[in-house]
Subunit: 342 residues, 2 copies
Amino acid sequence: MNLKELATKLGLSPTTVSRALNGYPEVNETTRERVVAAAKRHNYHQNTRAIRLATGRAMAVGHVIPIATRHEIVNPVFADFIAGAGETYSRNDYDMVLSVVPDEDEEATYRGLKSKGNVDGVIVHAPRMNDPRIALLREIGLPFVVHGRATGTADPYCWLDVNNRRAFQRATEFLLDLGHTRIALVNGLEFMDFAIRRRTGYVDALTARGITPDPTLMASDEMTEIAGFRAATAMLALPQPPTAFLASSMISGMGVRRAVESAGRVLGRDVSVIIHDDDLSYMKNGEDVPIFTATRSSVREAGRLAAEMLLDVIAHPDAGPQQRLLEAELIIGQSTGPAPRN
Amino acid sequence: MNLKELATKLGLSPTTVSRALNGYPEVNETTRERVVAAAKRHNYHQNTRAIRLATGRAMAVGHVIPIATRHEIVNPVFADFIAGAGETYSRNDYDMVLSVVPDEDEEATYRGLKSKGNVDGVIVHAPRMNDPRIALLREIGLPFVVHGRATGTADPYCWLDVNNRRAFQRATEFLLDLGHTRIALVNGLEFMDFAIRRRTGYVDALTARGITPDPTLMASDEMTEIAGFRAATAMLALPQPPTAFLASSMISGMGVRRAVESAGRVLGRDVSVIIHDDDLSYMKNGEDVPIFTATRSSVREAGRLAAEMLLDVIAHPDAGPQQRLLEAELIIGQSTGPAPRN
DNA sequence: GAATCGCTTCAAACCGCTTTGGATGTTTGA
DNA sequence: TCAAACATCCAAAGCGGTTTGAAGCGATTC
């Protein structure tokens, strides 16, 4: 059943039927009701492929996921972000198309997406310093929103980010207020923009209190349980071990917790831990009472908002670049306490 | 730059240019080379939207992700599966479109995908017993492949699954061989098909050795760290605690491990643990030596294979339903050992 | 030398919708 | 009362490709 058939059946022209279904004003309300009823009755749905060709719009948004060397992106955070963004797209009748490509093909993929007309815009994930994708997308004229920011990029662009610097600064201050002075940072890979900002927040908070950051208390690695465990184990074996940790994620925090416990210390009493909690749907930080004290910011909500921003950019290409900074909340759990006296 | 313009520039008809680019035989090789060169030179790419309309094929595959009540699916396993499937699609110039919808809209989404022509086929995730989606998809005539199986479905359909029953049976036997007799199962939610099969394998192995399965040693819950921790903690507090655990995933295994350690027992000596390891890219079970003894099966590889199967089904709709059962390997790590003597 | 054939190429129809530019009949306003 | 304005509806031309049916043409066959 296509438009023409439906029109014939109704004794109307395709034009009128199309207009009736798309809510155009130049059609009699009685007629519109007839058309809508008939469409429902015959289970007629407009063919997406035809609409896309006729309107010149893809009604789709792309997410490019590079794999192989930089496999960091296929991570739990990504899944929740996608889920959030997907909700927005569904509500707005947009398709979400994911391209999983070897990272050396990333540029070609973006160019292809544009020239073949598969999508109307893209979300850029996991930006690094001076991320080349921003200039690329601007050059080829594909609307985009960055999830995060790319330090070093001169011209303004659309982004949505969590205030990572502030979050880690506050977390550090919170630990300082509890009397901790040897505070460790178990960070993500520091070519990622968010990791750089978190370190900055941590360092700023320390120096503001006259504490010189100690390089032996700063680790940077993938955000896995094992990496967290290793880094924390090594630090706890130092002559002057830290009394508190900042961990970059729930998972690395679990590694830190294991290190603390296998070192025979008690979490929240001997050693305090604060994690960053992305509020993942399948990895809750406790239920009533949070297990970990955490800087929390829902990555799923970020996905929803970033997608909304992108749809807005697509609808209004000439409006200036939008930017939005979300604040993380500091929630108190059971993993922090006053610094132990020595 | 579109086909017509390119054709004019070359002094050829659109027909010939189209055929040259698509590798049809009825075009002179010299001409083809001219065309291909010109296309590259003018950076011409065929417009996907036009191709889709003209050919009647969507060149896209759908993955429907229901959310809300059954949020279980937005999980880490899903992300890796998607990544694997995405690799296959990219290689074959197919798009992967994800629909994230409230689960009460799931049926409508599948119908829409079909009648609006957005996709040529779909992958069905996380099947339950008597999963209604299979009958639905057959009814509307949308090609599909199920990742997993749906016990209770009469007619044959396409699926790709891991032999969950056998995997858990072997794992249980392995523990029995080590002398364990009180073996606990920390399972996923048992309305999921894979969880049912795993329990069957576990129960079968026990009964085959004359051991009556003990209901107090079987838990079924979401596969989270906390759930694993809770279930294991409760069991370890029993008058006759288990000396070994089977955990349904890496994450719940981490919860079990924590329970073991906080009960003051040593993993691999006092208490043995076997997990099912989906070989997730960002959650490796150790590096050289696996931390956990595990039944391992790469879900990413499953994604690749399921996608290949689906593309094959789309290309040959009349071939019978394909089915493929993957075996998990049993890998020995550091979390298992002989049953302690009492 | 006419008929046939294979190799190339093309014109035109088509995919299923949107949208422009009327056409038609009805009101409205002076 | 007549022109202008309005309310509805339609024919036809796209959108950018694919595909069918036919034609041009030199070579081969009889």
